[in-house]
Amino acid sequence: MRGLPLISASIWVPLLGALFVSLWPRRYAARCGIGASIASAAAALLLVVAVALSGPRRERLGGWGAPAGIELWIDGFSALMIAMTAVVGGVVSVYALAYFRAKDSSGDPQRQEVEGRREAYFWRIWLLVWAAINGVFASADLFNLYVTLEVVGLGAVSLVALAGGRALPAAMRYLFVTLSGSLLYLLGVVLIYSEVGTLALFQAGESLIAGTLAQAALVVMVVGLALKTALFPLHFWLPPAHADAPAAVSALLSALVIKVTFYILVRLWVVVFPASVSQPVGEALMLLGLIAVIWGSWRALRQQRLKMLVAYSTVAQVGYLFLVFGLGPRADGSAGWQAGAYFAISHACAKGAMFLAAGAIARAVGHDQIEEMRGVGARLALPFFAFGLGGISLMGLPPSGGYVSKWLFITSAAATGDVIVVIAVALGGLLAAAYVFRVLALAFERAPREGAPSLRPIPATLGWSALVLGAVAVALGLAAGAPLALLEVGLPFGQSLAEGVTP
């Protein structure tokens, strides 16, 4: 098991898949696409199992050494992230299979041609993005992170643009944000390289000394990555982008893409930057996170469109993610970091389920306005139920992954006597309940006498895949032991790098 190049496999398989899909004529794109996604999911899960069984793995691309060549490094944290991508990506692929296929059922050939092209492009770009995401989670090299990050960004922008119409300006704004974010990150890498002389993540971490240069690098990188993760003041681009994209794409964006930049930030915090430099910035990020939770939920409550509501809920949940930078370093042991990591994967499943369900509902009802959806509950039971399951995890109610992460958050905050964080986490849960139940109430409302809105038939797989993701979110609550054990492999958040397995 040790010998097999599993890490590079998890990157190459989706890449080859993308290539394979683009070779075939458009008609077969969907079939090849689903085949490729299943293969890449299998490869990723194989890697995760290998890491779980035999500890962290390291591979050198092309056999070059650390300073020059590109290092791939997988420990518990990245394995968990790759597993998340595999699960959510796989289910969303199944969903996309039915979602794009059903689209071209309407008559005229011209529209069908456009739909066919859109479907083909989706599969190609999505598999490319998948490869890049796995690349980010695997790379232990600062510049390699930049490159893969850039690929993810460009892929995501084009996926958003697939929807056409009002998604184009959103995609444009998203493009600018992605480019400038990556470039700011690159600027940071430049500053670190000029200081340390190496790009390898772990070696840079050892030799980087706390100074003005390190601080400047950190600030620039944090601004760039926060911009790409849509933290509170810099979140203006996310709602239109995530809401106007096709349902499958918005699920991928909210669940996976924003987790990539979060992952990089965590790596920088734990490995690269010394505590003295990162501590004040961490506190600031935590404060922004708290505001994001309140502001995101408040805006979500006031939205008229279902997908906008879910998008703003992402803005709020991102706030939770950034709490980690304040709690992590302070809490003894890795309770804070664990909470953040676990929240990332449970949010991925929950938000994925909600966006898929919202897509199914929007597809059936024909529009996205919440007020006009009264009385459809009885006939769209499955999507609303999936939306509910996702909502439960978002609210942090048992038995869901959200509940476990909320429990971990409050434990770490209580350990350090951080009362404001405890209150914000609790209040965030209640606010989430406010907007989730506002949507769920539609499901229970009886149709008004003068005829409920007419529904278009939708393929069953839409509802069922949303339900599967929701079920995974709930399962994360019931079997929290295994993922948390996986997280401990290779001590990603080890206190001192010494006893961690350094390459």
């Binding site: 300073p67 119409g165 300006p169 444009m172 704004r173 470039l183 390289y193 002389g197």
Partner: protein
């Protein structure tokens, strides 16, 4: 003022110009050019900041800049295609900001 530091300062200047253009200008193509200037500035700083190694100039920054340029070019291509599509569909050259937050 050894020559390499001049490049670094010039790079920093280009970066600030790029960011300014991106944030302030409304016309999409102008903003695209702003982002290009920004990337060029970063590369300039990268080269400027490269360490002097006894055997001649250090190779790693060179490789990074090459890759960076490739990435910047593909990003610009995507951006221009998008601008073209927006212009075709909506007839505007700029993307209005919708709502504060």
């Amino acid at each position: 003022m050894i020559p390499s530091q001049i490049y670094v300062i010039a790079g920093a200047g280009l970066v600030s110009v790029g960011v300014f253009a991106w944030v302030v200008r409304r016309h999409l193509v102008r903003r695209m050019m702003g982002v290009n200037i920004l990337s060029t500035g970063v590369f300039m700083m990268l080269i400027g900041g490269a360490r002097r190694v006894e055997g001649g100039p250090d190779g790693v920054p060179q490789a990074m800049v090459l890759t960076g340029i490739v990435v910047a070019v593909s990003a610009t291509a995507l951006g221009l295609a998008l601008i073209q599509r927006i212009y075709d569909q909506r007839g505007e050259r700029s993307v209005e900001e919708r709502g504060p937050m």
